[in-house]
Structures are given as structure tokens and as C-alpha cells.
């Protein structure tokens, strides 16, 4: 445990701690740009330099470990000048047009330039030119704005194990991007948007759908309905300065009404619907395997995360049969809104315009998949990220924080607590087990408060098992079977889990995968900046929302009973098959 001083303050930290981390522990913030907590420390940008007594040169605090007796200075004229020079150099070649940039007011380069008090740029640099790649439906890249910090590279390769981005060429010609500097659509990218979540500047952002939503709201021939994913309500408040994990469900509904959405529904409703279909699908696979002794694709994989789906299509096409055929809650919503609900209000599918608000970037991609038009037209018309909704609320001049709480419209809005936890890693699994276990045994899942701790936390890969006893007669063949489940979040973890499954090292019945670290609450479309601490706060909020509901299990949701009674008839039935289930396509990785 080395002891040292930072700006005269003594501090004792664990071996291997960097100067940056040690300073943070005692409340000293050193500016950074390329550093990414827990993920990347490469010492590339040198904004984080500090003085170490006895050292001739300034050192990058994000990579330099502390040593016994070090005396560190983090604020001096020499340092302010050095940091300014570094940022001035970046700005001298930066194609800066902050006022019209997607990241205006939400940009780390802008912030650091402001904090360092940069007044004029003394260097004459050759400005990078705008070089905009709109080849994919979910993301826009502009190499002209890129400061080559490589955060996106590390996230895409290490955290997500996809590898769509990499430094290309060398020297002055270096660009960060897909193979040979070509468009993103030419390589395997799952559209998760984790790169956009970590990019400090406006070099990778989501395809903006705000204008098309305003247009639909102004169009008198359209009935515009909105659905919000569970993960949005635990994060939207951050756009308005509220702390991470503040639940703003009621204010969000109020804001949506004020934006002009005549009907405000909830993706939670179709999350409950997904659970019914997906749990029954799992049981039918188990029946096939255990009772009929026929080959069945087990483990069954969850299918609500579109980045994960695309990942399987690229990297594990042999496992496509294992993916649940259930559409995601977003797509189930679009399909039932344009059929079941449209009919109720006397509209045709093409008169209804469905807007989703998602913590996710890949949902923009999912909505455009050719399979996703079971109502006859595209089921979901526009997908806003949490960030985009925040901006729309600001554009409309709504004072979000002082809004009253309102509640969603009931038909496609009422939901159980099981639906809320769809937003966090381990949540879909718990929600599905609540229903599956009860179908098999007639009893409630035997965990206190229905909470399965083993699969709830932040570890990358989690496992649990439930032994089935005293079944109802119909499922007696499952008597004594121990159901083994696994949960992974972040595609890098999914990759490790898949290799274990592939090699036969691990055997499971049911596996939940969420593309983004932490699950949807850490999605690529959430307010920046999402650290692990922020993820934990948002997850806590989701469990709070769940446990605060009277109805905690999807099959107890009265509106779910109603839609089966009035419209769908039964789970996995013909209507379900047509509207709620889908198929997947194997994709070539190169």
C-alpha cells in the first residue's frame, strides 16, 4: 500500500493504482480524454498530465502507477499550459462547428477546452474534412470529428468482441473505422451503439429520428402512439440534471402527452407478452426433449436484444435455431398496436404511426428488418433513443423536472413488475422463470421476493439452477429436473459463454443475453456518461419499480389475459405465430 501525496494531501492506495485513480479517491479531478474508466488507459492524448517531483518530464496520470513517497502536483501553471497546448493542437485540426454538431453541450472535447480556458488557437493546423458515413440505419460516423482516442476501438473489440472498428492506415492518414476506411455497412457491425456511447466527441452518433417524429405528430392523417422501454424511465432524468437511477416514469408520460402523443403506451406491456410466449416456447422445447425424446434446440436463447441477434447471425449462425423465435417487446408492440389496437380505435395499420423510445441504438436497426412488418406495413415507424427524447422535450420548452406524474393509457400500457426488469441483466431470465415455474408447478417461484440474487448482479456471466418438484400433472415429466440457466451481458461475455456452450463445457436449458454491459439500462442510446456506478444506480431503480408493483408476474397482468381472450387466443397459437414470432438470417462476417 504505497503512501504518497497529491497536491500536498497524503493518500494511501493499493499497489498498481494509477495516479489518476488515487487523485479521484481524494476528490481531485484530473482532466482526461482518451481514458475510459475500467476499459482503456493508453496514455495517448496526454490531457491528464501531472508533475511528479523528481521526474524531468510530465507524466500521463491515467497510465502511471503510484509509488511509495511520490509527490504529485495536479494543478500548476506548467500543467495548465501543457494541457492547453495538447487540446489546442487537437482543436487546430478539428472540424469544429459546435453549434450544429449532434454533441453540442454533450461533448468532452468542448468541455475540456472550456475548462482549460482556451481562448484562441495559436497553431495553424490542416482541418480534417467532414467525412460522413450514413451507410447503416442506426449510426452516423464522421471521421472529420474524430480525435483518434480509440475508445470506440477498445469497446468494439474488447467489450463487445465484434471488431468492426480498428485504426486504419498509418501516420497522418490514420483513420479510426471499418476495414480500409470503408463504410460501416461493409463490415460486421451489430449496431449496438456502444461506440457512440463512449465516443467523447461527435464522431459516432445515432441516426437522428427526431424530425420524422415531429413530422408525424404534425400529420393530421396519422394516429401517433408511443411506447417507452423500461430502461428509459431510470435514465431520462439524467438529461435534466437528475441523478442516475431517478425513476421518472410519471413525468415521462406527462412529457410525452405534452409533446403531442395522443396515446401513451408502454413497451412493458409487450415485455409481459414476450414472457408468456417465450416461457411457453421454452416449455415446449423441454417437452420435446424430455417427454417426446426428440431433438430440440436447447439451450434456448433470449431474443429481445437486437444487437445480440445480429451477433448470432454473424458469428454463431449454427445457433440460430436456439434463438427464441419471439420478437422483441418493441416489435411485438408495433405488431399489436397496428392490428389489435388499431382495430379497437377504428384505424387501418397504415394510419397508425408507432414511435418507440429506447435506451438502445440497435432498435433503430431492428425496426427496419424486413421481417418486421406483420401488420402489413412497417410495424415500428421511428425509434428515439433516451437522449433524443430528452432533446425533444427541451425543444418543446417543457420544464421536465416540475411536471406532475401521469399514468400510461391502459390497453397496451398496463404491465407487471416482471416487465420492468427486462431493462437489466438477469431480468428477462427472472421474469421468464416467474412464469415458467408457476406453469409447471402451480406454485410461485421459490425465491424470496421473487428475486434470484445469483443472476442479478454485474458479473459478466452468471448461472443459477432451479430444481422442479411437485409438478402439476401436465408437466409431470419435468419432475426432478434441474433447470440450468445462464445470463451474460456485453457481447464479449456472451462470446465467452458461447464458446463454453459450443465446446460442451457448459450445459444449460435457457440463456439470457443482453448486448450492452449492464443490460438495456447501459444501452448505446442512454444519456452519457454511463459508468459502472451509473449502471448500478439504474439497475437498482428497475428493481425498485418491479417490487413496488402489485402485479409482479407477467401472466397475472390483466391486460395480457384480455389480449389473449379477445385476440390472440393462446400462446404460440396461429395469431401469435404470425404477429409475435419471427425468423433469423445467417450473415457473412466478411
Amino acid at each position: 500500500m504505497p503512501k504518497l501525496t497529491i497536491d500536498g494531501k497524503p493518500v494511501e492506495v493499493a499497489d498498481g493504482t494509477t495516479i489518476l485513480e488515487a487523485a479521484k479517491e481524494i476528490g481531485i479531478r484530473i482532466p482526461t480524454l482518451c481514458y475510459l474508466e475500467g476499459i482503456q488507459a493508453i496514455g495517448a492524448c496526454r490531457v491528464c498530465v501531472v508533475e511528479v517531483e523528481g521526474a524531468r518530464t510530465l507524466v500521463a496520470s491515467c497510465v502511471m502507477p503510484v509509488a511509495e513517497g511520490m509527490k504529485i502536483i495536479t494543478n500548476s501553471k506548467r500543467l495548465r499550459d501543457a494541457r492547453r497546448t495538447v487540446v489546442e493542437l487537437l482543436l487546430s485540426e478539428h472540424d469544429g462547428n459546435c453549434q450544429t454538431c449532434e454533441r453540442n453541450n454533450d461533448c468532452e472535447l468542448q468541455t475540456v477546452a472550456y475548462e482549460l480556458g482556451i481562448k484562441n488557437i495559436t497553431f495553424e493546423g490542416i482541418k480534417t474534412k467532414a467525412d460522413v458515413d450514413t451507410s447503416t440505419v442506426a449510426l452516423v460516423r464522421d471521421n472529420g470529428k474524430c480525435i483518434k482516442c480509440r475508445r470506440c476501438v477498445t469497446v468494439c473489440n474488447q467489450v463487445q468482441a465484434v471488431g468492426a472498428l480498428f485504426p486504419q492506415f498509418r501516420g497522418f492518414k490514420t483513420v479510426i473505422g471499418p476495414a480500409f476506411g470503408k463504410d460501416l455497412s461493409t463490415v460486421a457491425c451489430v449496431q449496438c451503439g456502444q461506440c457512440a456511447a463512449v465516443c467523447p466527441v461527435g464522431a459516432i452518433v445515432e441516426q437522428n429520428h427526431i424530425e420524422r417524429v415531429w413530422k408525424a405528430l404534425d400529420d393530421k392523417t396519422k394516429t401517433v402512439v408511443v411506447q417507452t422501454a423500461p430502461g428509459v424511465r431510470a435514465a431520462l432524468g439524467e438529461c435534466f440534471g437528475l441523478p442516475a437511477g431517478t425513476l421518472v416514469t410519471g413525468k415521462m408520460v406527462a412529457a410525452l402527452r405534452r409533446l403531442g402523443f395522443s396515446t401513451v403506451f408502454d413497451t412493458n406491456f409487450t415485455a409481459d407478452l414476450t414472457i408468456i410466449e417465450e416461457a411457453m416456447e421454452l416449455l415446449s422445447r423441454l417437452k420435446k426433449a424430455v417427454k417426446e425424446r426428440q431433438p430440440a434446440a436447447l439451450p434456448q436463447f433470449t431474443s429481445c436484444s437486437p444487437g445480440w441477434i445480429k451477433y448470432v447471425e454473424y458469428f454463431y449462425p449454427e445457433f440460430i435455431p436456439n434463438l427464441s423465435t419471439c420478437k422483441s417487446p418493441q416489435q411485438m408492440f408495433g405488431a399489436v398496436a397496428k392490428t389489435y389496437w388499431a382495430k379497437k380505435v377504428g384505424k387501418k395499420p397504415d394510419e397508425v404511426f408507432v414511435v418507440s423510445v429506447m435506451p438502445c441504438v440497435a432498435k433503430k436497426f431492428e425496426a427496419t428488418r424486413p421481417e418486421m412488418n406483420s401488420s402489413g406495413v412497417q410495424d415500428v415507424d421511428a425509434v428515439l433513443t433516451t437522449r433524443e427524447l430528452g432533446r425533444m422535450i427541451k425543444q418543446a420548452g417543457i420544464d421536465f423536472v416540475s411536471l406532475p406524474d401521469e399514468t400510461v393509457d391502459r390497453v397496451l400500457g398496463t404491465s407487471s413488475g416482471a416487465a420492468d426488469i427486462f431493462a437489466n441483466t438477469g431480468g428477462v431470465m427472472q421474469a421468464a422463470l416467474r412464469t415458467a415455474y408457476e406453469v409447471i408447478t402451480g406454485r410461485e417461484l421459490p425465491f424470496e421476493n421473487l428475486y434470484i440474487e445469483a443472476i442479478a448482479g454485474m458479473e459478466g456471466i452468471k448461472e443459477a439452477s432451479v430444481t422442479i418438484t411437485d409438478t402439476v400433472p401436465e408437466w409431470s415429466f419435468l419432475e426432478g429436473v434441474t433447470m440450468k440457466v445462464a445470463v451474460a451481458h456485453g457481447l464479449g461475455n456472451a462470446n465467452r459463454l458461447m464458446e463454453k456452450i459450443k465446446s460442451g463445457e457448459s450445459i444449460y436449458h435457457f440463456v439470457e443475453v443482453m448486448t450492452c454491459p449492464g443490460g438495456c439500462i447501459g444501452g448505446g442510446g442512454q444519456p452519457r456518461f454511463t459508468t459502472d456506478a451509473v449502471r448500478k444506480s439504474r439497475i437498482k431503480a428497475m428493481y425498485k419499480e418491479d417490487s413496488g408493483k402489485k402485479v409482479r408476474k407477467s401472466h397475472d397482468n390483466p391486460k395480457i389475459k384480455q389480449i389473449y381472450g379477445e385476440f390472440l387466443n393462446m400462446p404460440l397459437g396461429e395469431k401469435s405465430h404470425h404477429l409475435l414470432h419471427t425468423k433469423y438470417t445467417s450473415r457473412s462476417r466478411v
Binding site: N157, V162, G163, A164, L165, F166, P167, Q168, F169, R170, G177, P178, A179, F180, V187, A188, R589, V590
Partner: protein, 183 residues
């Protein structure tokens, strides 16, 4: 191995080459640090790194295509365009540089109509720069294939390059697309 050098009927050998590539990939699959040696061997076999070969390497070694491309683009040794029959290298070491190497390079670029790292459309010449081949006393120097040409004057580059076209025609009776080179 010998036919591989032949550039007259590459289609005939394509299948053999792919077989050889697969053998290399089999050997290196799963080994750490395999990418660069595999790329080197592939370039030696094919003369350059065609897209199809890079994609195969990416798939077989389980390396993202963007990473493979990034490595290929980082080292000037690797080329994704077919090399010309003759490699022209212009020395830009200090001695050659101060004695007009840069002007010689410009003259060659103009003569061939290509930039450094490129190959003429008729595939006769590829152009590269080099850092010194020990001919400093007689700078500026250029190398065409294995021949060093010293005290090169910009006005003479056309003449030097033309020699190679004639040589080739006489020796190898290859007529493919030599006309128009040097234009």
C-alpha cells in the same frame, strides 16, 4: 513453387495457391501472433494481398476483418493491389534527398502516372520509396528490380524505365499490356 513466379496464367494456379493458403491457415489457426506471418506468407504466394485472401484469413484466424485491414494498412510492406512486373524504388535517404531524389521521384510519378505505393494499370511498374541502398556516393539513386541506377537525372527516367519494357518483351515474350507504360 516455381510456377508461382509466372505471371502469364495466374488463373491456372489460383486453386493451388488457395490450397496452399489453407495449409498455412491450418498450421497457424488458434496460435497467438499468427496474423502477421500469415499475411507475409500469403503476400509471397500471391504477390499481393487480394481482398478474397484477406477475407479468408480473417474468417479462418477468427480475426475481425477491420483488424486484418488495419494491420495490412499499417505496414507499407503489404500491398492490396497487384505488384507490377517491375518494382521501382526511389531512394530518399539523406544523400539522395539533398541531391535531387525528390525531383527524380516526381519525374517518375509523372512518367508512370501513379503515386508511391501504386501500380500502373498495365501492371508493368510499381513505385515505392526507400531509405538508402548504400549508393550514397553516386546519389541520387533508384533501384529497378535488382539493378541500381546512380546519378539519375529527372529527364532520364523515361529512358531508364523503357529499358525494362524492351527487356521484358525480348526475354519473356510477354506482350500483355506493355504498350502505354510510361505514359
Amino acid at each position: 513453387m516455381i510456377e508461382m513466379k509466372c505471371d502469364c496464367g495466374s488463373e491456372i494456379n489460383e486453386r493451388d495457391l488457395v490450397k496452399q493458403l489453407d495449409a498455412i491457415l491450418d498450421e497457424y489457426r488458434g496460435k497467438p501472433g499468427a496474423l502477421i506471418p500469415v499475411l507475409q506468407m500469403s503476400q509471397k504466394m500471391f504477390g499481393y494481398l487480394p481482398e478474397s485472401v484477406l477475407k479468408r484469413i480473417s474468417l479462418e484466424l477468427g480475426k475481425p476483418y477491420s483488424e486484418v485491414a488495419g494491420v495490412v494498412g499499417f505496414y507499407s510492406f503489404f500491398s492490396t493491389v497487384p505488384r507490377g512486373r517491375h518494382l521501382v524504388r526511389v531512394c530518399l535517404g539523406t544523400a539522395c534527398y539533398v541531391r535531387g531524389g525528390k525531383q527524380v521521384l516526381e519525374a517518375i510519378k509523372k512518367n508512370l502516372g501513379i503515386d508511391v505505393g501504386e501500380t500502373t494499370p498495365d501492371r508493368n511498374f510499381s513505385l515505392e520509396v526507400a531509405r538508402c541502398f548504400g549508393a550514397c556516393g553516386l546519389a541520387p539513386a533508384i533501384m529497378v528490380d535488382d539493378d541500381v541506377h546512380q546519378r539519375v537525372k529527372p529527364v532520364k527516367v523515361g529512358e531508364i524505365l523503357n529499358q525494362y519494357l524492351t527487356k521484358k518483351t525480348k526475354k519473356g515474350k510477354k506482350s500483355a499490356g506493355k504498350k502505354g507504360a510510361g505514359k
